[in-house]
Amino acid sequence: MSLDVRPQKTAAEEALATMFAQARDGLPGNEALATARAAAFRRFESQGLPTWRREEWKYTDLRAAMPQAQPLALRAGRLPSGAPGSPILPVDFGARRLVFSNGIFVPELSDLAELEPGLTIRPMGQALREGDALVRAHLTTHSVSAVPSYDPMQSSDAVQSFVADPAVTLNAALMSDGIVIHVAAGKTVERPIHLLMLSGEEAVSVFSRSLLVAESGARVMVLESHEGGAGHQVNTAFEMVVGDEAHVDHVKLNGGVGLHVASLLATIGGRVRFNTFVFTACCALVRNQMFLRFDGKGTLANIGGSSLLDGRQHVDNTLIADHASPDCQSREVFKTVLDGESRGVFQGKVIVRQKAQKTDARMVTRALLLSDEAEADHKPELEIFADDVQCGHGATTGSLDEELKFYLMARGIPKAEAEALLVQSFVGEAIDGIEHAGLRDALMEAVADWLKTRGERVDASRN
């Protein structure tokens, strides 16, 4: 079977081709980048939108989920009036806010005052236009020229997999703006940096790309919150280059509605502490793909996520943790709560290359079904080529523990409240992995809010 033979283009694929043809001359970047964009789009076109036939997209058929493509967002959309806020994260914990509308940086709403020493922030569009050295050195669209053709049987390298992914390819062709953050060696950025990604009123296609370079010994926390708008189609990609002994915390929150595809690439040095967490309580369809490569010895990584789904929502967290160096420890903990007819997907692949001796990797994915119609799919994979490693994975799907529920009710806690406590405890085990206490509390609040609306919906369906 040849996977390169494509059926006729869908309306969405036609629209994307037209979109690229019309936009290509106006997209930021020099001639070399324009060539790279064109090459990326050709690669995308040869494959089209990913379908279930592609193993990595087995449970999320983007081609079927995207009958039409919205017009490309070339400028910031009009935001709802009032101060820009984050409905999914209403708590202010002193973060530096950088505001985006439809993926386009909005400087007048952003806080660029008194940047900590060693911290540099530039909009991606400007960096691409001006041929920023950091972007040229690190952004894969520039730095990775040879892209392997898709081979499902081949063992994956996280960077190659990222570059070859159809969503990333499309992003490389159409990326318009985003942020470039640089933290100089040994510098600590005290305030968390919050990328507040808002949606304009008109439904559009968004292609945003960001880059974080944390030099050796640097310390920074980056928070992204995406507030999807009705009909919006968001394709966002974030590349992180983490130097030796750096400490990077990354938390991504998905709220709102619409279609959202996000790709994270992190290449991580030695003796690093790297934490990433993705929280999803939104959207018709979400795909979060994480590509992590451990390139140095002695790194500790916590990779976590929790998703709260109801209605007909579909959330897919897909992860490659590529241990390319010895002595690294990674922990992957994903928790999904499913109500209604929702579907939750987790695909996690831990690769331990031959030289990555003494790797310690443990991956856990658990789904809690609150309704009979919800579905959870887990696909944990271990690819181990080294012989002195500790690796394990566990995947479970279950409903609320009736014994625990009885225990709580026997103490006078009404059924709905008991169920809410148990859901919070289930999700809390993943959220506990976040180092920032304020953010942990804020997320537990978000879980409580979700549970409250769940109660209202159940009541409404009874009336």
Binding site: A410, G412, K415
Partner: protein, 251 residues
Amino acid sequence: MALLDIKNLHVSLDGKPILNGLNLTVNKGEVHAIMGPNGSGKSTLSYTMAGKPGYEATEGQILLDGEDILGMEPDERAARGVFLAFQYPMEIPGVASMTFLRTALNAQLRQRGKAELSTPEFLKRVREIAKSLEIDPDMLRRAVNVGFSGGEKKRNEVLQMALLEPRLCVLDETDSGLDIDALKIVADGVNRLRSPERAMVVITHYQRLLDHIVPDVVHVLSRGRIVKSGDAALALELEASGYAQFQDEAA
């Protein structure tokens, strides 16, 4: 009127009859012990009183102040003052003990139409009770019962009981898994809760708990029925002679 009046109670679990016409009357201020061999229906009685799903009463009544509680949800029974100290307290990872205690207390106060406690009032009460039971306050910051020893879990049950101030305390094998020091702490905690307004049903396999919590009445449960009742001396008699005679009687 008796606080608790169980009349002709028949209970099945998975279609299998366990209790077969049990009668028990407990007045305010009294402590009743229920003793019996394994499989006689002791735990079934306690779970049925608390309302555990699956324990189906096919006949009879459990009257609390004359009101049948059999159709009620466990939380409604708790709000009316029924408290079951579990033989095997559950571990609830991810739920902090303090959150659990506060949620439970406020839910009960709400259901009884009373005002919730303020945070300082609540903390003060929990700390006082914890101190009397020699519970390290640090333990209450952890998830409910997670990583607790058997004895710590039992002390935690008594803490909940003291905080929630039930009118009917059902203690299911509270002595199991306790060494003698822990047993004494737990028994002292229970004894402090004895009051003219409160009744207790102490379920146990062994007599030793009753050295510390001295009952007013002792009942022998065998094959799902109370086959003999007496005063505290009956427990000592059982300790000496065992349960065999009653199993024969019931047969």
